[in-house]
């Protein structure tokens, strides 16, 4: 089928991963907020995406049809058979403003299943909005060597798996199509066994002063932390979500090898970005810890990961204000004002009781780096 697909977000998933799995004959176009990317690709309608396959890099030259800056696309929306959203969960609201007149199918590949309900409600459309879980790490900042060989806008991706809701088969060459229940299980595994652990590693790596996930994941201390995190989350997935141990073991093993993959160059700042979003009470860190507590599991490793997130300091990050609050407020005020956690909540108590211990662990790590 020669379909036309419009992808919101010309980043790691949009540019780096989707060209490998979408139908080869499909004509791709992009909508992007970043003016530098738009200007660059308006002049050069091609880029290289590099995939890691069998511990080797293979490249793909992608030629696309158009790139729009955000808003420019609105007149042309109905020319497209499918719209894919992978521009970041925070952009869902603003993108939804542009999609009112669009009549065809929308696939959400954002890292949050709640985006589906938000978009359905915003657009008052309930049958044409689908969810997918790209189980892949991809990065729009390839290593210097790769950039030199394939151009500065080349991207890098794993050979991942994309799980997609049924009814979108025609648009893909390579994806696994699942019913809603099975897709939800995939999402839960991804949310906790991937997202939670991935960002714990990123915040730890940031504190230690490293640049890529594999650098931190291969340290001895991190491996212990990874195993403890997997163990707490596995118990949660069995008890709360009834996911079988075999699936969990397979998933955890896969994640461990993915995080330690030295070819991937997964930047810590990409994974750690927007710490306040990740620290929301229903999100991957505090949300995961609260769910553990509710199921009788003490979230020792996760709460250390939460503490690491408090110490994220990156001037370019939209949530840079976390450092203002962390450095200005005492610990109880920080939890309440910055995160909305009252001091008598169990997760607050765990954090407050261990605050000094976590702090000294971090100082030790910095010294031994």
């Amino acid at each position: 089928m020669k379909s036309k697909i419009l992808i919101y977000g010309a980043g790691a998933i949009g540019r780096g991963y989707l060209p490998w799995i979408l139908n080869k004959k499909a004509k791709l176009s992009y909508v992007e907020n970043n003016a530098n990317i738009v200007n660059f690709f308006k002049k050069n309608k091609t880029f290289h995406s590099i995939m890691i396959k069998n511990k080797k890099y293979i490249s793909k030259r992608v030629v696309f049809e158009k790139i729009f800056s955000f808003g420019e696309e609105s007149k042309f929306l109905n020319e497209y058979d499918l719209i894919i959203l992978c521009a970041g969960t925070r952009s869902i609201e603003s993108i939804s403003q542009n999609l009112f007149s669009y009549k065809n199918k929308i696939l959400i590949l954002e890292n949050d299943i709640k985006c589906v309900d938000i978009l359905k409600e915003k657009l008052n459309k309930f049958n044409n909005i689908f969810f997918g879980v790209p189980d892949v790490i991809s990065s729009n900042t390839a290593s210097g060597k790769i950039k030199k060989k394939y151009g500065r806008k080349s991207t890098i991706t794993e050979n991942g798996i994309c799980y997609v809701e049924k009814r979108l088969e025609a648009f893909f060459d390579k994806a696994i199509f699942l019913n809603k229940k099975k897709l939800h299980d995939q999402w839960i595994c991804k949310l906790y066994l991937h997202n939670t652990v991935h960002c714990i590693l990123a915040y730890l790596g940031h504190i230690v002063g490293l640049r890529y996930i594999h650098e931190i994941a291969n340290l001895k201390f991190s491996k212990r932390l990874l195993n403890s995190s997997f163990s707490e989350l596995s118990k949660l997935l069995i008890q709360k979500y009834n996911i079988d141990l075999k699936t969990i073991k397979y998933y955890s093993k896969k994640e461990l090898s993915r995080f330690t993959n030295k070819l991937l160059f997964d930047p810590i700042d990409r994974v750690a970005r927007e710490p306040f979003r990740k620290l929301k009470i229903d999100e991957r860190l505090i949300g995961a810890a609260n769910k553990c507590i509710a199921n009788g599991i003490y979230p020792k490793a996760i709460s250390f990961g939460i503490f690491c997130a408090f110490n994220y300091k990156n001037r370019k990050d939209p949530d840079f204000n976390i450092s203002y609050l962390k450095n200005s407020l005492n610990k109880e005020d920080f939890l309440e004002i910055a995160l909305g956690l009252r001091k008598n909540e169990p997760i607050s108590q765990i954090l407050l009781e261990n605050w000094n211990l976590y702090l000294s662990n971090i100082n030790k790590l910095k010294k031994n780096k």
Binding site: F276, L279, P318, D319, F320, N321, I322, Y324, L325, N327, S328, L329, D333, E336, I337, A338, L339, G340
Partner: protein, 266 residues
């Protein structure tokens, strides 16, 4: 001011606002003794002074040479071009009546501009702060300006304390009613700092102040400027300011009404 110095000063402002807030909360349920009464509405209590002292201690802790303009204590220090502007309790009457609309307001003024703004309501735990353009936050959230047309806007206005000047009073009242009757409404909340903080959050769509006290307005105007509001202001008398604040769409009308009814340009 260099960004790292700005950030350090913002951290000081946040710490000071939180400390003052602790004092305000501690005394909230107690009966307050009124220490000075400039008019029925313009009063100061013991807690105003105590909260000011908390702020003073924190600001001077790292640098004893800082100058601070306080509502209650007046100028503290000698530098009259770069200084902190502090109102430890904006909304004293609300506070006395246990109405939860009051705040500590701390600003830094440098080279005739508001550089840092921090407003904190300790009861609701709402902390608004900024030291950079397009970087205005409420607690963890980044705030963005909302745009509504004049007729759909909700305004907040604060009056001067000039109740004995019937001419000005009458102009202010007519201005208030003009805003009120031609929009979603105009409120008088009793705390100018809260008005401006709510504006930044999109709860209000415009704020107006006539002969407002500079310590009530300074932090809020800094936040409004940094969130991207359209602002006109004029410092009119010693420590008094006339101002209008709005968005791209409603600003010209807000200003037009002000100038028409008050007979003054901004």
């Amino acid at each position: 001011m260099r960004i790292d110095i700005k950030e350090n000063n913002l951290k000081i402002a946040i710490k000071a606002a939180i400390k003052a807030g602790e004092k305000l909360i501690h005394n909230f349920e107690m009966t307050q003794s009124i220490l000075t009464k400039k008019s029925n509405r313009d009063i100061s209590t013991k807690v105003d002074f105590e909260a000011e002292q908390k702020i003073l201690d924190i600001i001077l802790k790292k640098n004893k040479k800082q100058t601070i303009l306080f509502e209650e204590k007046g100028f503290f220090g000698k530098n009259k071009s770069n200084f902190w502007i502090v109102d430890a309790l904006d909304g004293t009457v609300n506070y006395l009546n246990r109405i939860p609309i009051f705040a500590s307001s701390i600003a830094y003024f440098e080279k005739k501009d508001f550089i840092i703004g921090c407003i904190y309501n300790p009861l609701t735990r709402e902390l608004y702060y900024s030291c950079e353009k397009k970087q205005v936050f409420k607690n963890s959230l980044k705030l963005n300006i909302k745009t509504k047309k004049f007729s759909d806007s909700l305004f907040a206005m604060s009056f001067s304390g000039q109740k004995k000047n019937s001419k000005i009073r009458s102009k202010e009242s007519r201005l208030f009613m003009a805003y009120n009757d031609n929009s979603r409404g105009c409120l008088r909340t009793g705390s100018l700092a809260v008005n401006l903080a709510y504006f930044c959050e999109g709860k209000f769509d415009g704020c107006i102040g006539h002969e407002a006290k500079i310590w009530d307005a300074a932090a809020g105007l800094c936040l409004a400027k940094n969130v991207g509001a359209k602002i006109s202001y004029k410092i009119v008398k010693k420590n008094r300011i006339n101002f209008v604040v709005g968005n791209e769409i409603n600003f010209e009308n807000i200003k037009k009404y002000y100038e028409k009814y008050m007979g003054k340009t901004l």
